[in-house]
């Protein structure tokens, strides 16, 4: 599971020795995130985001458990119980705003974590399983976030639930019965609210379990690094603790400052005013928008406005939206270039940034109403998104001539130091 030169766990105190014989949990921690885990010496700050995502999950679970002590999952009182949390519960406003914005912070760091993986080729062999488990975590996060957004039972909660469960009715034949079964009724109501609460409480623990698998799979080959060159010997690595606990600790501080700024100064910046109106099944808000982290996928959903082949526009939209995520499962095999890091891939590097711009464009389209020019822009953006993964990436990885690469991580680090030194003396 680790390199042969990894530090060995050697308990000193009699108690720790006794514990190590009975239940070697401290040993597990030492080898997983302590001095016993050798990590490439050249990780940059983009390697902070995994730890930050873990911290965000812990914050969500802690604030969520506390909120569940005051929340009532019944369609008649759910909305009022959230107002009760905001007004009456001691520090309830703070805990709820932290949970609301914590979800956004979680998605921000996870999106950066995903794009880090895309830029540095972290999804490639031997780390395909790490990537696949990551996509599973991403899907679970989206399901959890969606169900959590329904719980306050505001207008956006209700109509979000109506629209999202409506996806299932697009499936031919079984769609409508499936939707009714999922909702436990013909429209979102008490039954749906209750089961969403139950699942919203469950899924974060499932996510935590998959994260353990994600880290386990990562620790078999060890962490990747910005050069994409695999570790060759001891001088390429440093122990995780104290080197990266310190670096991650600094990143965590920056993360918490931004999180606190959002929570205390603009707690509703990323929310929707409509969700402070109680759910009304007879009136749809003029403009239904999901939370920001769903905007790119929502834009893909709405990009199909016409029937195509034998499939109607609605089903195409739903297929395209799910395919946009499912595509990520195939990424390790769509990109056949043996070079991992974009630092040495001149062509892919350009297309990577075009993809970033494309996803941002789709995000804007998903936020805007379904009118021109946003419809045509989301159509172009969706086509490009799929083209990137299915056409551009396989072709680029075949025709690209990578730039010359250093022989080892250490050589890359020392060359950079030499450059810096000569620049300083010049």
């Amino acid at each position: 599971m680790s390199f042969p030169w990894a530090n060995q766990y050697q308990p000193q105190q009699p108690l720790m020795k006794w514990l190590d014989e009975k239940l070697p949990l401290p040993r597990l921690v030492y080898n997983a995130i302590g001095s016993g885990y050798p990590v490439p010496r050249n990780l940059n700050y983009f390697w902070n985001f995994g730890v930050l995502a873990g911290a965000a999950l812990v914050i969500q679970i802690v604030t969520g458990i506390v909120l569940a002590m005051h929340y009532a999952a019944h369609a008649d009182v759910a909305f009022n119980s959230v107002e009760h949390i905001m007004r009456d519960v001691n520090a309830g406003w703070f805990i709820r705003y932290a949970h609301m914005n914590g979800a956004s912070m979680f998605f921000i760091v996870v999106y950066l974590h995903i794009f880090r993986g895309l830029y540095y080729g972290s999804y490639k062999a031997p780390r395909e399983m790490v990537w696949l488990l990551g996509v599973v975590i991403f899907l679970l996060m989206m399901a959890t976030a969606f169900m959590g957004y329904v719980l306050p039972w505001g207008q956006m909660s209700f109509w979000g639930a109506q629209v999202i469960t409506g996806f299932f009715s697009a499936i031919p034949g079984v769609g409508e019965p499936l939707r009714v079964w999922l909702l436990g009724g013909f429209a979102p109501d008490n039954a749906a609210l209750n089961r969403f609460f139950s699942l919203h409480y469950l899924l974060p623990f499932v996510i935590a379990a998959v994260i353990i698998l994600h880290i386990w799979a990562l620790h078999i080959p060890g962490s990747s690094n910005p050069t994409g060159i695999e570790v060759k010997d001891e001088q390429d690595t440093v122990p995780f603790h104290p080197y990266y606990t310190a670096k991650d600790g600094f990143g965590l501080g920056v993360f918490l400052i931004l999180f606190a700024a959002l929570t205390f100064f603009t707690p509703n910046l990323l929310g929707h005013a409509d969700n402070y109106i109680q759910a009304n099944p007879l009136s749809t808000p003029a403009h239904i928008v999901p939370e920001w982290y769903f905007w790119p996928f929502y834009a893909i959903l709405r990009a199909f406005t016409f029937n195509f082949l034998w499939i109607d526009a609605k089903l195409w939209g739903v297929i395209a939206m799910f395919a946009a995520i499912a595509l990520l499962f195939f990424l390790p095999w769509l990109d056949s270039s043996p070079v991992k890091s974009s630092n040495y891939r001149p062509l892919y590097r350009k297309f990577f940034w075009v993809l970033v711009a494309d996803v941002l464009l789709l995000g804007v389209c998903g936020k805007m109403p379904a009118e021109q020019p946003w419809v045509i822009l989301s159509q172009i953006g969706s086509i490009y998104y799929f083209a990137h993964f299915l056409i551009i990436l396989p072709i680029v990885s075949r025709i690209e001539r990578p730039e010359p690469m250093p022989n080892s991580i250490t050589e890359a680090v020392l060359a950079k130091h030499a450059d810096d030194a000569s620049a300083a003396t010049a």
Binding site: Q162, T165, G166, F167, L182, G184, R195, P281, G317
Partner: protein
């Protein structure tokens, strides 16, 4: 399967006693699992109190020509619209071939009551409530209903004409119990 070297385990037809026990035990466990999973799955279907709301009576005597009301059936909005003669003519003029979900106005209403258009107020795209039932709301490009969520336009027979919705607004099962009372469901 049974081998000749285990005479004690083999019976004359070549089936071992243990094979039978294995199959019987696994089958029994399988039936038991299904018996447990079925109620666990079925508990999510609509409960009796939800299904009990499945029939609603509406008094339509107060709805003037050209007006519409929004009511509720099974917690879903229902539009009851008293069409004007112009709206009926407009709906009948449309060539059926040009429709995505070809239906005539007569097929969507009751005989002799063609002016009463009763549909669910649930867009067949993703379930928003279309506009157009209340006074002054946007009725879309075809004078019927307009769904603001993803821009589906319905005509005066509540048929889909433009936008992403795949089918016409659903006509629920209903009957005229008298000239002024409709029972939905």
């Amino acid at each position: 399967m049974a081998s000749e070297s285990e005479p004690s385990a083999a019976v004359e037809d070549g089936v071992r006693r243990r094979d039978f026990i294995n199959i019987a035990a696994v089958s029994f466990a399988g039936v038991g699992t299904v018996a447990v999973v079925l109620p666990l799955v079925n508990q999510m279907s609509p409960s009796a109190d939800v299904l009990a709301l499945s029939s609603t009576e509406i008094d339509i005597s107060a709805i003037q020509t050209g007006q519409a009301i929004k009511t509720s059936w099974r917690k879903q909005p229902v539009f009851v619209r008293n069409l004007t003669t112009a709206e009926i003519d407009e709906a009948n003029k449309v060539p059926l071939g040009s429709l995505r979900d070809a239906q005539t106005l007569a097929e969507r209403t009751k005989p002799g009551k063609e002016n009463w258009l009763i549909t669910l107020g649930v867009c067949t795209h993703l379930g928003c409530v279309p506009l157009g039932a209340a006074e002054g709301e946007n009725r879309g490009d075809f004078g019927g209903y307009f769904c603001p969520c993803h821009g589906s336009h319905y005509d005066t027979a509540a048929r889909i004409r433009k936008g992403p919705a795949p089918t016409n607004l659903v006509v629920p099962p209903y009957e005229f119990t008298s000239d002024t009372v409709v029972t939905i469901g």
